[in-house]
Symmetry: C2
Subunit: 212 residues, 2 copies
């Protein structure tokens, strides 16, 4: 990946992903699976389809992954880690709660728009995970929720936010951002950056203390 690509990619909401997946064949299969799952859904995707997209035979899949479900779990786990990283980075950032909430929403939305293929799988295929894997992932999601709630609480304490219902608003903010993965379309008019900016503005309006 060139330096220019890296810059463009970071602007789109994430660095080159899937680097952590090795060897290359395993990564190619995983990327093929992300595309297929995002297009048709986990259950409508066949192992033959995944292997075909990766230019390999169906049996090749089982050298790198025990089951089709393990593939989904790897995708879901990496994606949730990334999403949580984004929120944590915004929480740890400098500035007022207002700045940090705007930053969190902006970068979180940018990722869901720019990587909407991945995000769609990560956010909407939880039910297909095994019991064990699902509870693991749900733990990560609770952490995301906690980060947003904490930013809101700190904003309220600082007198910057007026939020009567912090847990409810945290759910709404996260829900708003996550659902970008469902409707966002690369062929649409907006770039991930633009959607991120729009959403950051909308969320700030939702929580900011009214000047009367």
């Amino acid at each position: 990946m060139s330096a220019a690509d890296e810059t463009a990619d970071r602007a789109a909401g994430g660095e080159q992903p899937w680097d952590e997946v090795t060897p290359e064949a395993a990564r190619k299969l995983l990327i093929a699976a992300v595309e297929a799952f995002a297009e048709r859904g986990y259950h409508a995707t066949t192992t033959r389809d995944i292997a075909g997209r990766a230019g390999m035979s169906p049996a090749a899949l089982y050298i790198h992954y025990k089951t089709k479900e393990e593939l989904l779990h790897r995708i879901s786990r990496i994606g949730h880690d990334k999403a949580l990283d984004i929120l944590d980075a915004a929480y740890a950032g400098a500035g007022t709660p207002t700045d940090r909430l705007a930053d969190a929403v902006r970068s979180f939305v940018r990722w869901h728009a720019g990587r909407h293929t991945t995000a769609r799988v990560v956010q909407y295929e939880l039910e297909a995970l095994s019991e064990t894997h699902r509870t693991e992932i749900i733990g990560l999601r609770r952490q995301s929720d906690a980060v947003v709630r904490r930013i809101l609480e700190e904003g309220v304490e600082a007198g910057e936010f007026d939020v009567p219902d912090v847990p409810g608003t945290a759910v709404a903010v996260l829900s708003l951002c996550i659902d970008v993965a469902r409707w966002f379309n690369t062929r649409g008019r907006r770039t991930p950056d633009e959607v991120g900016a729009l959403y950051a503005d909308l969320v700030l309006r939702m929580v900011s203390a009214q000047k009367k």
Copy 2:
């Protein structure tokens, strides 16, 4: 259904649904399908599962529906009609744009929470529809989008709203409401009414002109 049930149901966001589906066996199958699709998703649901929930043999399904996909289409069509009705009613209502937007969000969210089983199928199983059926349904969704956009425009004209990006905000508002179907849980702390009220408040904050 008793009068008390009807009142409780209307409060939950919709009158007794599926009345339009006859005969009774067809309705029982359809209700069973809604439950199964909402729980596991369309592709993970078998015709044997649907028939089993309805207390019938697998073959019975094909007396009332040509294919499994036709069942999904009937559900999706009826659900989208209902959702559009709710928005239209709010649009046609009395009061200022502020009142009507609050009403739209409140009742739309109440439906997505109270009937989240149905709503989940309606909102998240579009991809499983056939090409023809999907384009039909997408038309209905565009109408919903147009209604919200029109309320926003009228509010801006009336000077009640300050919305720099009307189409983008309309998408965000609808997205926020729709995603309730994904996370809402009957065993959670909030009633559909409470979520509706919270969301109506949040949306009004998103669009209302700031008093400075």
